[in-house]
Symmetry: C3
Subunit: 143 residues, 3 copies
Amino acid sequence: MQKILFLLLASFLALQSTSAQSESPVVVTKDKLRVVFQLTSNDTLLQKSLVKQLHNFLVAAPNARLEVVCHNNGISFLQTAITKQADKIKDLKARGVDFVACENTLRERKIKRTELVNECRTVPAGVVEIVLKQKKGWAYIKV
Amino acid sequence: MQKILFLLLASFLALQSTSAQSESPVVVTKDKLRVVFQLTSNDTLLQKSLVKQLHNFLVAAPNARLEVVCHNNGISFLQTAITKQADKIKDLKARGVDFVACENTLRERKIKRTELVNECRTVPAGVVEIVLKQKKGWAYIKV
Amino acid sequence: MQKILFLLLASFLALQSTSAQSESPVVVTKDKLRVVFQLTSNDTLLQKSLVKQLHNFLVAAPNARLEVVCHNNGISFLQTAITKQADKIKDLKARGVDFVACENTLRERKIKRTELVNECRTVPAGVVEIVLKQKKGWAYIKV
């Protein structure tokens, strides 16, 4: 009888564990997916959700190459004095995410390169960068 | 004279009819277009316009395969207690539209599968799903 | 001593000039990039930034073929009585940009073709147009 109870308990715990496992993030693919994200908004909630999205993506597709192009109002995401995601950007950069600022946006808004977080690089035109990546077969996500 | 008047009237009515016809939705292509839509907003007007968009798409391209991936705030579109489009979702599902919920979003917001409309399925990560579809040649539309 | 001062001054001016040059828009590629833009918003600031985006794109990629598909609330961009960008649309059209209105949107909102700017053409379904272009290899940008 005790043995049966033990087995029932063990089965129950095993089920619990399986259920918990299926609820936590899982690896969906080991493919080297390449994705360019476009951020054009200064909405801090949206920027926070982008950071979570990038994290979740790297959990589900650990070999992915991710690039985030920021232009127009999205430039605030990379401005040291404004962004609320500086720590997360540092973490994600260390995990290989490429952060990119649009020089057209910088010039039009008189923002200096030195006002941006160290973890980013710049391109002459953000939208052209996104189009060039799509042409090379990268997927595109508008944030 | 009466005959001429009659012919003029008939021509006029025929023109009217042609004009009305050209104003109603038409089949644009019979190609098997494949499109993944991304919904991230809980704006009920936007969700209403998505439903109309899907309908219009199937009129213009009756052989299209359409998939709608809902994540972040877009999950409300699939929540039985919240969505205003339950009937339309049922109709569109019957016409072959595939509705998909993001499990990361469900977990982060503590939403249970049972709280979603029956007509949807879930995937581990919504954005990865969209990227995988693009990689397979599906077109992408951000709603 | 005067010579040294002169050389220093010349170097300084040369640096200034280089710096200014690198800050102004540059040609990024002479490739014939093809891009379809999707406009669905009546936000006048967004519409203004789209116009700037198209201009910047043609500076960075002078051989690009650009198409702007307007549907849903984005139709206001092409409505003569509403748009604030009529002059810019005329300029961009002259530089080869293709402006397109969705007939489904026109019919649903009872807008006549004659209420749109001359510089645009119409298609039966805006979203189908965008998908057909993606299928032909055009890049896609959601504005």
